[in-house]
């Protein structure tokens, strides 16, 4: 964490000046008013090839810029074995959550899937929505097949 005050030792006027300089320098280092630490995904990788790092950073920082600590990674594209690789440093995640960090929605979903958090309600909702769309497309697909059959029989 960024220290708020500089050193206060010494009674010489030189030290006072130095102290003032340090305090002003600290002002230059961002002090976020009402800011908090988040655990979120920082995007990296190349064009058409995303790769996320799971990162503890200040809320106000840019998404991909300086973070406090990297806590893991997430590769959204499946590999040859049809796996999406996610890594978590659970010990450090526990520390940051203990410090009051807020995980974002995708991070919370991933942690829910991992079994570290309870399941996120949106994961369940999305699964249900996918099943519904799959059922609908299947239903329409079978209807189309039946229509094709009938047209063939008629012709």
């Amino acid at each position: 964490m960024v220290p708020e005050h500089g050193s206060n030792t010494g009674a010489l006027p030189l030290d006072d000046v130095l102290g003032a300089v340090i305090r002003h320098a600290n002002f230059l280092l961002k002090k976020y008013h009402g800011g908090y630490v988040v655990i979120r995904l920082a995007l990296g990788g190349c064009t058409n090839r995303p790769f996320y790092r799971i990162v503890a950073a200040y809320n106000k920082r840019a998404r991909d810029s300086k973070y406090i600590e990297q806590l893991g990674s997430y590769d959204p594209l499946p590999n040859i074995h049809n796996e999406k690789l996610v890594s978590f440093n659970y010990e450090r995640i526990k520390y940051w959550i203990g410090c009051g960090a807020h995980p974002t929605k995708p991070v919370a979903k991933l942690l829910g899937l991992a079994g570290f958090f309870p399941l996120h309600p949106m994961t369940i909702t999305e699964a249900e929505r996918r099943r519904n769309t799959a059922a609908v497309t299947e239903g329409s697909g079978t209807e189309e097949q039946q229509e094709d059959h009938e047209t063939e029989q008629q012709a």
Partner: protein, 380 residues
């Protein structure tokens, strides 16, 4: 993921990797823990069957392996440098040899022999509501720094919604991605397929393939055990035991052969080596000491056999007669071995040598192609 893949370069060197020592130490501890907790195999026996890691077994195996410094420190393919020459007194040379022997003993540390690992079939959660959430599996790894790899959590969330522990193959692959070991590949080399192993054996490169296997696979994986057993069986079939002598794999080979009760070839090889030395240089007393060593090796091997199979005929006989040294060999030759005649004759010849070498030198007898001395052929 791309970053991990892209920056790995293949090391095609067959030199011994230091990291295996730490790994093998941990595995030794794990093996000891599991062995201590398991009950003994035979309920009727009071004594536990000797395992590979036992002190006395290890002692016998290190003695049989030998310490050929020329072979251990033979030139390995590395960066070309001009050689360094040192001028030493006899004392310094002696000290340097002692240090070399210590280093050699470290290099001869035997890799662990473990039973094949049981497949992992642990399901942590069944969430039917997540059915169809995605087409791909999610693999979650714990990258906390200070945990041993065997205790790391690697779980897989299937598209059906089940959360299960990763299988051993998945574990090996994922650990290699996040904690890469030098020389290990994500997919195993095609050399380890049975048809390719045959070609390697024809080229007499058993030691190299065993070193590669040690780097690539975990000691309790099925592939490791399969490759090692294939190598040992091929060596035993062709009788080329000397390829592994004075390497770290010799102990493992001897252990495999002893457990399979197929030590005849090895005993004969040791005795042959002894005879070959004697016939080639008939008058030298130094060779007597070396030949005594090989016969002692054969006796050690048979005593190990008796340790591991205490119910066999030769073991019972040896315990009855309280036999030590060459007598154990004789008993083994009579009771268990297929090539009884050869072993008996070799022992006779060994016992006769002190009488022969003290007096005249006799002309070296002609050796036949297999290295057998002609009188033996009449009997065998």
């Amino acid at each position: 993921m791309a970053a991990y893949r892209g920056t790995r370069c293949l090391l095609r060197c067959y030199s011994r990797i230091r990291g295996i020592n730490q790994n093998s130490q941990l595995l030794n501890i794990c093996a000891k823990r599991t062995l201590c907790s398991a009950s003994p195999d035979n309920g009727t026996q009071n004594v536990r069957t000797p395992q590979f890691q036992d002190e006395d077994v290890q002692e016998i195996l290190t003695r049989i392996t030998g310490l050929d410094l020329q072979k251990i420190f033979r030139p390995v393919k590395q960066e070309l440098k001009p050689p360094t020459y040192k001028l030493m007194t006899d004392e310094q040379l002696h000290e340097a040899t002692q240090r070399a022997k210590e280093e050699a003993r470290k290099r001869l540390k035997m890799p662990p022999v473990l039973p094949e690992r049981q497949p992992i079939n642990d399901i942590l959660a069944e969430d039917k509501i997540l059915e169809g959430m995605d087409t791909a599996k999610y693999v979650f790894t714990d990258i906390t720094f200070n945990i041993p790899h065997r205790e790391r959590f690697i779980v897989v969330r299937e598209p059906t919604g089940t959360l299960r522990k990763a299988t051993w193959e998945e574990r090996d692959r994922i650990l290699q991605i996040y904690f890469p070991k030098a020389g290990r590949r994500l997919t195993s080399q095609p050399v380890f397929k049975p048809e390719n192993l045959k070609i390697v054996f024809q080229q007499d490169r058993h030691e190299d393939i065993l070193d590669l296997c040690l780097v690539q696979f975990e000691p309790d994986s099925a592939d490791y055990i399969r490759v090692h057993q294939a190598t040992y069986d091929d060596l035993e079939k062709q009788g080329k035991f000397d390829l592994l002598r004075s390497t770290r794999h010799f102990g493992g080979m001897v252990w495999h052969l002893v457990n399979a009760r197929r030590i005849d070839g090895l005993v004969v090889d040791m005795l042959q080596r002894d005879l070959f030395h004697k016939r080639a240089h008939a008058a030298a007393t130094v060779i007597l000491i070396r030949s005594a060593q090989t016969v002692q090796d054969a006796a050690d091997l048979v005593s190990l056999f008796n340790l591991v199979h205490p119910q066999s005929e030769s073991a019972l006989e040896a315990r009855e007669q309280q036999a030590t040294g060459i007598d154990v060999l004789k008993i083994y030759g009579q009771k268990e071995s297929q090539r009884t005649g050869y072993i008996e004759l070799a022992l006779q010849a060994y016992q006769q040598t002190p009488l022969e070498s003290s007096g005249r030198t006799h002309p070296p007898q002609r050796l036949s192609e297999e290295g057998y001395v002609t009188p033996v052929q009449e009997i065998c």
